[in-house]
Amino acid sequence: MKSGIVVFPGSNCDLDAYHLLRDVLNEEAEYIRHDAGSIGDVDLVILPGGFSYGDYLRSGAIARFSRIMPAVAEFAASGGLVLGICNGFQVLTEAGLLPGALIRNRHLQFRCSQVYLRVENTATPFTCAADRDNVLQIPIAHGDGSYYAPREILKDMEEKNQVLFRYVNSSGDITEEANPNGSIGNIAGVCNESGNVAGLMPHPERAGEKIMGSEDGLVIFRSLLQHLGKEGVGASV
């Protein structure tokens, strides 16, 4: 699997994604500059976490007008796999590639901690290696992570199985206390209708080694590998 990690001015988890892919998973990865005109020959585009443009105005609002974004949209439209993590998720919602928006955490504070996630749909390229009953422990680190979508859209998303992850407690129950930021329906991650673009606030790339506290984040990358393996790596290009 060859990944392209988009680096916006102010991205800061680009290194973490790169490290996980190259050093932990032994997969190919390269950086793509925000002002590049095209994304080149990759199987997966990652929009990493961080504070693109300082998160000024709204998180992701300025980055979504970067020169690379039309190419990302085109890649997505042609079925390419796009994963937005944290700030990357915010950029994807701002760009309209994913539904909804991420607003200020309900408690108004930045929050860095381990959380638990339940995989809600195991039929996507991002989750196909997961077990529906598995509870994943993955950290969050964000100030604007409260997921919101208008009621009609939410209904539509539920019908189309677009909710990928929800915040749960360690036994897998959706509870108020397990919701770290006030997200509607405890939503932690979603995908688009066709399932090839996904975003989540937690950081799977920080949960890839035991010494970091959890390896549960690997499931997302293993899913992608499995999915691509089925189709044949790079077959779509």
Binding site: Y53, G54, Y56, L57, I62, F65
Partner: protein, 100 residues
């Protein structure tokens, strides 16, 4: 803590509801990194006739007060004490009738 109670003044019959709109902006001499980022984004988006972008806060609130002057005095005080930090920010406000 000694707190100033305003409710007393409102117990009378002529208590009215006012809508205050408060704008809080960074003082002119102070760096506004958000404004600068928005400005340069607007320029790259093609709006290169835009200058001097400043980003501040906008607050709306409803309060009970016997008359506009009383409402304004309270909004002024709240703006100084809580809604802005006079060290780095200026504020301005308008008061409108919000109905009973």
């Amino acid at each position: 803590m000694l707190t100033v109670k305003f409710s007393g003044a409102l117990k009378g019959e002529n208590k009215l509801k006012w809508l205050a709109k408060v704008e809080v902006t960074l003082k002119k001499a102070i760096l506004d990194p958000q404004g600068a980022a928005v400005e340069s984004s607007l320029v790259t988006m093609g709006y290169d006739n835009v200058q001097q972008v400043r980003v501040g806060k906008y607050l709306e609130l409803v309060l009970d007060a016997a008359d506009r002057d009383k409402a304004a005095a309270q909004v002024e005080e709240m703006s100084k004490r809580l809604l802005s930090n006079p060290v780095i920010e200026d504020f301005s406000y308008i008061i409108q009738e919000a109905g009973a």
